[in-house]
C-alpha cells in the first residue's frame, strides 16, 4: 500500500513506544524539548520545493559534512534541520541560524565553507548573503527584522520553517497533538463543534463556509440516519500561482492530520482521505510518512491516545484536474470514478463520499483547527474581522518584489500586503491590478487597494478570496490578455459535462482571442456579458458558475482597455502583438546599446551614445528591449 510510504520514508521513531495517554504525550514533548535545548545553535535549511530546486539539499549536506569534519558538534552543540518552506521562495535557498535568527538568502553549497568559518566558528555575519530590504533600502541581519516576516501573523503556517516535517517528535515538541489531547480528554464532540463555531473559522478553500456549521450538519445528518460518515481533506490546490496548501503538507503535515482527527472526533467519523494531487510529490511523501508515524505513535488509527476513539486516514492521489478541487468531483475521484461534479441540491455534508454524510475541508482549514483548540476559540475570533475571523495564508506572486508565502490577519488591506509585506512592484513600476482567488477570481484595480481582505469584501467587488492566490500586475500587463489567459485555463480544465461551461467558456475565450488579435467587433462586449450571464446562471457546478469572473471583473474595472483593443485596435500595455509597435523615445534614449544587444532578431540599430531605432518590419514584439532598458525609453505606440 502506498500509504505505508516508501521504505526510506518510514519513521525513525518506529521502535519507540505508542503514546498511550495524554500524560505520556506531555512527558514525551518535555523530553524532546530538553534534548533540543541542549543544542546551542540550530541551523535551519529550507527544504521546501522551491529551495530544493535551487540546491537546498546540497547546502544541507555540505553543512553536515563540514560540521562533522571540523568536529563542531562537540564544540558548539549544533544541529542542522531540514525544514519546510520558509515562504520567502524567491530568495532561496534560505538558511536561518538560530537562536540569533541570522537570515541568509540565496545560499549555495560553495558558500558553506564561509558560513562555517565566519558565522559558526567566528561571530561574523556574511554581508553578501543578507537580504536587502527594498523599502528601507538596507541590509537586514535577522529573520525577525525582515518586514516580509515581521508583518505576518502565522497560525496555519505556525510551525513551517521551524520544524523538521519528517520528525513527528519535533512537531510534538512544538506543541503538536496537544489540541487533539485536549479535545479527546476534556471535550465532548459537541463542545469541539461549539468551539469551532465560536472561533468563526470559515473554509479556506474558496467557499468560505463556516466550518462549525458544516461539521454539525454532517454529524446531525449521520446520527439521524444512523450512518457512517467521512472526514476528508482537500489538498488538490489547483489555482495557478497558489502554493499555500502544498507548503503546509510539505512543511507541517502533522498539523493537517491532527486537525482532521479532531474534526473526525467532533463528527464521529472513523475514516477519511487526504485527496492530494500527484503533482505535489514532496507533499505526498511527507504526508505518507506523517500518517505512518502518527499511527505508530498511537495518534492515528485505533484507540487514539488511549481514549477509545478511532479514526484512520488514507491518501488518495489525484491526477491534478482543477475540477477535482470541487467537492463532489473530488468525492467521485476518491471513489474511483471520473472526476465530474454533480448538482449539489443535496449537499455533500448530507450525501457525500459513497453517498454518506461527509465533511470536506481544505488543508489550511484543518491546520487551523489544533491551534483553535489549544489557544482557544476566542483568541482566533479576536483576530481578523467580525465575519472573517483569524488569519489567511496567501501566495504572493507576480510583479512584486518579495514573492512568497504570507499569512496575515483577515481584514488587512491589499495595499499592506503588496507594498509593505511584498515590498512593492518590481522596478518600482506603477501598480495596475491584483488578481485574487485563482482562475475563478477577479482583478482589482489601484482604486481598490485599500480594500479589507476578507471573504465578503472581495466578493462584493467582483473578485473572491478563493484559496489565497494573489497575483500582482504592473502597467506592462494587458488586462484583456490576462482575462484570456485565465479563460484558456478554464477551457482546458472544465470537466466538459455541462453545456454552458464546456461550450460557453470556450466561446468566451474565442471572443477574447479575436479581440487580442485585433479582430474584435462592435457588440462583442455586450455578447461577452450576455453569454457570461448564462454561464453563471446555468452551469452545473461552481467552476462554471465562476468561470466568467476573470472577464467580468476586468470588464468592470478596465473596460476602456477592451474598447481600445476593439475600436482603436491598440493594446496600450504592449502585450497583444498585433496591436502595437515599439518605439525608442528620442528624449529618453541614452544610446547605451542594451536594447540592441538584447534583441533576438537584430532589428535595433544605432551608434553608441546616439538614439537607437527599431525596424518595425523585423520586430517580433517580444519586449526584450523594453525589459532591459533602464531609462524607460522603449515606448508602446500605435
Amino acid at each position: 500500500m502506498f500509504n505505508q510510504g516508501p521504505s526510506w520514508a518510514r519513521s525513525k521513531a518506529g521502535n519507540e513506544m505508542r503514546i498511550e495517554s495524554v500524560k505520556s504525550l506531555k512527558s514525551l514533548a518535555d523530553k524532546v524539548r530538553r534534548e533540543q535545548k541542549k543544542r546551542s545553535i540550530e541551523i535551519l535549511v529550507c527544504a521546501g520545493t522551491g529551495c530544493l530546486a535551487n540546491g537546498a539539499l546540497e547546502v544541507a549536506e555540505s553543512l553536515e559534512r563540514a560540521i562533522t569534519k571540523r568536529k563542531l558538534d562537540a564544540k558548539l552543540k549544533l544541529g542542522v534541520k531540514r525544514t519546510g518552506c520558509h515562504g520567502f521562495c524567491e530568495k532561496g535557498p534560505l538558511v536561518v541560524i538560530q537562536p540569533a535568527g541570522i537570515f541568509y538568502k540565496g545560499v549555495r553549497a560553495k558558500d558553506v565553507k564561509e558560513i562555517v568559518e565566519k558565522t559558526l566558528e567566528g561571530d561574523e555575519i556574511i554581508k553578501r548573503l543578507l537580504y536587502r530590504d527594498p523599502v528601507a533600502k538596507k541590509k537586514v541581519e535577522t529573520y525577525q527584522e525582515i518586514p516580509f516576516y515581521s508583518r505576518q501573523h502565522r497560525i496555519a503556517l505556525r510551525n513551517i520553517g521551524k520544524i523538521d516535517p519528517a520528525e513527528i517528535d519535533d512537531y510534538i515538541a512544538h506543541g503538536g497533538y496537544q489540541g487533539l489531547a485536549t479535545a479527546l480528554s476534556a471535550m465532548k464532540p459537541d463542545e469541539v463543534i461549539d468551539s469551532i463555531d465560536t472561533s468563526g473559522l470559515r473554509g479556506r478553500g474558496g467557499g468560505g463556509f463556516p466550518a462549525g456549521r458544516k461539521w454539525r450538519t454532517c454529524r446531525n445528518a449521520a446520527e439521524e440516519a444512523d450512518e457512517p460518515r467521512y472526514v476528508l481533506c482537500n489538498a488538490d490546490e489547483g489555482d495557478p500561482g497558489a502554493f499555500m496548501d502544498r507548503s503546509i503538507c510539505e512543511g507541517d503535515p502533522h498539523a493537517v492530520i491532527e486537525g482532521m482527527v479532531i474534526g473526525a472526533y467532533a463528527v464521529g467519523a472513523a475514516s477519511g482521505f487526504i485527496y492530494v494531487r500527484d503533482e505535489y510529490p514532496l507533499a505526498v511523501v511527507n504526508l505518507a510518512r506523517a500518517i505512518t508515524d502518527a499511527r505508530e505513535r498511537g495518534l492515528l488509527g485505533d484507540d487514539i491516545l488511549g481514549s477509545g476513539f478511532s479514526y484512520d486516514v488514507e491518501i488518495a492521489r489525484g491526477g491534478g484536474a482543477f475540477v477535482c478541487g470541487e467537492s463532489s468531483a473530488l468525492m467521485k475521484s476518491v471513489a474511483g470514478e471520473v472526476g465530474e461534479p454533480r448538482a449539489k441540491y443535496v449537499h455533500s455534508v448530507i450525501k457525500g463520499l459513497y453517498d454518506k454524510p461527509t465533511v470536506l475541508n481544505n488543508v489550511e482549514t484543518w491546520a487551523n483547527v489544533p491551534w483553535i483548540i489549544t489557544e482557544g476559540a476566542d483568541a482566533f475570533a479576536a483576530l481578523g474581522t467580525k465575519k472573517s475571523t483569524g488569519t489567511k495564508a496567501f501566495s504572493l506572486v507576480g510583479k512584486v518584489k518579495n514573492t512568497g508565502l504570507v499569512e496575515v490577519p483577515m481584514g488587512i488591506t491589499l495595499r499592506e500586503i503588496i507594498f509593505e509585506i511584498g515590498g512593492g512592484i518590481i522596478g518600482d513600476r506603477p501598480f495596475k491590478a491584483v488578481q485574487t482567488g485563482g482562475p475563478s477570481g477577479g482583478c482589482l484595480p489601484e482604486a481598490e487597494l485599500d480594500l479589507a481582505v476578507d471573504f465578503d469584501t472581495l466578493t462584493s467587488k467582483g473578485s473572491m478570496m478563493g484559496s489565497g492566490g494573489m497575483i500582482v500586475m504592473d502597467d506592462q500587463t494587458c488586462m484583456v490578455d490576462v482575462a484570456r489567459y485565465f479563460l484558456k485555463f478554464l477551457v482546458d480544465e472544465s470537466c466538459g459535462k455541462c453545456v454552458p461551461c464546456r461550450e460557453g467558456v470556450n466561446q468566451l475565450w474565442l471572443l477574447l482571442e479575436d479581440i487580442c488579435a485585433g479582430k474584435g467587433k462592435k457588440g462583442d462586449l455586450e455578447k461577452i456579458e450576455a453569454l457570461s450571464d448564462t454561464i453563471v446562471t446555468a452551469s452545473l457546478c461552481a467552476l462554471g458558475k465562476s468561470a466568467p469572473n476573470p472577464v467580468l471583473s476586468t470588464l468592470r474595472y478596465f473596460r476602456d482597455e477592451y474598447e481600445s483593443h476593439i475600436k482603436g485596435k491598440h493594446c496600450p500595455a504592449g502585450i497583444c502583438k498585433d496591436l502595437f509597435k515599439f518605439k525608442i523615445s528620442k528624449e529618453k534614449c541614452t544610446g547605451c546599446e542594451a536594447c540592441a544587444k538584447a534583441c533576438p532578431v537584430d532589428c535595433i540599430t544605432g551608434e553608441k551614445k546616439k538614439l537607437h531605432k527599431i525596424e518595425n518590419k523585423k520586430c517580433t514584439r517580444c519586449g526584450a528591449c523594453r525589459n532591459v532598458c533602464r531609462f524607460d525609453a522603449v515606448e508602446v505606440v500605435r
Binding site: A321, V323, V338, R342, A343, Y345, V346, V491, D492, E493, S494, C495, G496, K497, C498, V499, P500, R502, E503, G504, N506, Q507, L510, K527, A530, L531, T534, T537, A538, S539, L540
Partner: protein
C-alpha cells in the same frame, strides 16, 4: 420513497408529489412540458444539457429565486416553480445556440433550436463539427446494462465519448442500447441482413457481431455475445433469448393451450 405528500406549485397550479420526486418528474406526470436532451426516465438524472432549467422560489426564501435543473431538483413542500419565463427562455436559447455551434450538421439539434427561436448560431462554429452533444446517455445506459464498454475521455471542449485505446471495446456485447438511446443518431449501428447461408451481422464500435437467428422464424434477433451475456447474467437458459418476441409469444400461448387443454383456442 416515503409516504409523505408534498405540495408544489408549478406555473400557478398546485400539484401533489412524493418525497424523492424531482421537479421534472412532477411536471412530466402532470403534462407540463420541460425540454430535455440528456434525460431518460430509465436512467439516473444527469444534469448536463441544462435545457430543463426552471425558476424556483419559496415564500420562506425572502424573495430569492434562481434557475435550477428540473431533472435534478428534489421537490420540497411549498416549492414554487416557473417552467417558462424570459430568464428561462434566454438560458435555453443560449444553450441551444452553443449546441448549434458545436453540432451545425445535426438535424435534431437544428429542429429543437428552431423550436426555441434559434435558427442560426451567433457563435463560432466548431472547427471539427460533430453531432454528439455529450449528453452521456450512451455511457449511462451501457453502465446499467452492466457492460461498461464505453466512457468519456478527456475533458472540457476536447471531451469525447470513447472506446478504450480506440480499439473495438472488449466488453461491448453488441446490444446497441447506446445507439438506440442516442438523441442525435450519432452512434453508428448497422445490422446486415442474412444472405443465403450467411447469418446476419451487427456492426458497432468496430465490432462485427454474429447475430443469433430466431429458433422459430429464422429472423436475426440479437448478437450471440449478448445472448451469452444475458443468459449468464440472468441465469436463464440461452434458449430463452434465442426466440424473437413474436415467436416467443406464440410459443407461450401454445404451451398454455396444451397444458390446460383450452378448447377452441387457436
Amino acid at each position: 420513497m416515503s409516504e409523505k405528500t408534498i405540495n408544489v406549485e408549478i406555473n400557478g397550479r398546485f400539484f401533489q408529489a412524493a418525497s424523492g420526486d424531482t421537479v421534472l418528474d412532477v411536471a412530466r406526470r402532470e403534462g407540463i412540458e420541460i425540454p430535455t436532451l440528456c434525460h431518460h426516465d430509465g436512467l439516473e438524472p444527469f444534469g448536463a444539457c441544462r435545457l430543463c432549467m426552471v425558476e424556483i422560489t419559496h415564500k420562506d426564501w425572502k424573495g430569492w429565486s434562481g434557475l435550477v435543473a428540473a431533472c435534478l431538483y428534489p421537490v420540497e413542500e411549498g416549492l414554487q416553480v416557473a417552467t417558462d419565463n424570459d430568464a428561462i427562455a434566454g438560458a435555453r436559447k443560449t444553450v441551444l445556440d452553443l449546441l448549434l455551434a458545436r453540432c451545425p450538421g445535426s438535424d435534431k439539434i437544428r429542429r429543437i433550436a428552431a423550436a426555441h427561436g434559434v435558427t442560426k448560431t451567433s457563435y463560432k462554429k466548431a472547427p471539427h463539427p460533430t453531432t454528439c452533444i455529450l449528453c452521456g446517455l450512451c455511457v449511462r445506459v451501457c453502465a446499467v446494462k452492466g457492460a461498461n464498454a464505453i466512457d468519456t475521455s478527456g475533458r472540457g471542449i476536447g471531451k469525447k465519448i470513447a472506446i478504450p485505446f480506440r480499439q473495438p471495446p472488449p466488453d461491448c456485447i453488441g446490444c446497441a442500447s447506446c445507439a438506440h438511446i442516442c438523441p442525435t443518431d450519432t452512434i453508428r449501428c448497422e445490422d446486415i441482413e442474412p444472405t443465403g447461408s450467411a447469418g446476419g451481422v451487427r456492426k458497432i464500435w468496430g465490432h462485427s457481431f454474429e447475430m443469433v437467428k430466431c429458433d422459430a422464424c429464422g429472423k436475426p434477433i440479437l448478437p450471440r455475445k449478448q445472448m451469452e451475456y444475458e443468459a449468464a447474467r440472468s441465469g436463464l437458459d440461452e434458449s430463452y433469448f434465442s426466440v424473437c418476441a413474436s415467436c416467443s409469444q406464440a410459443k407461450t400461448f401454445k404451451t398454455i393451450g396444451t397444458a390446460f387443454d383450452m378448447e377452441g383456442v387457436q
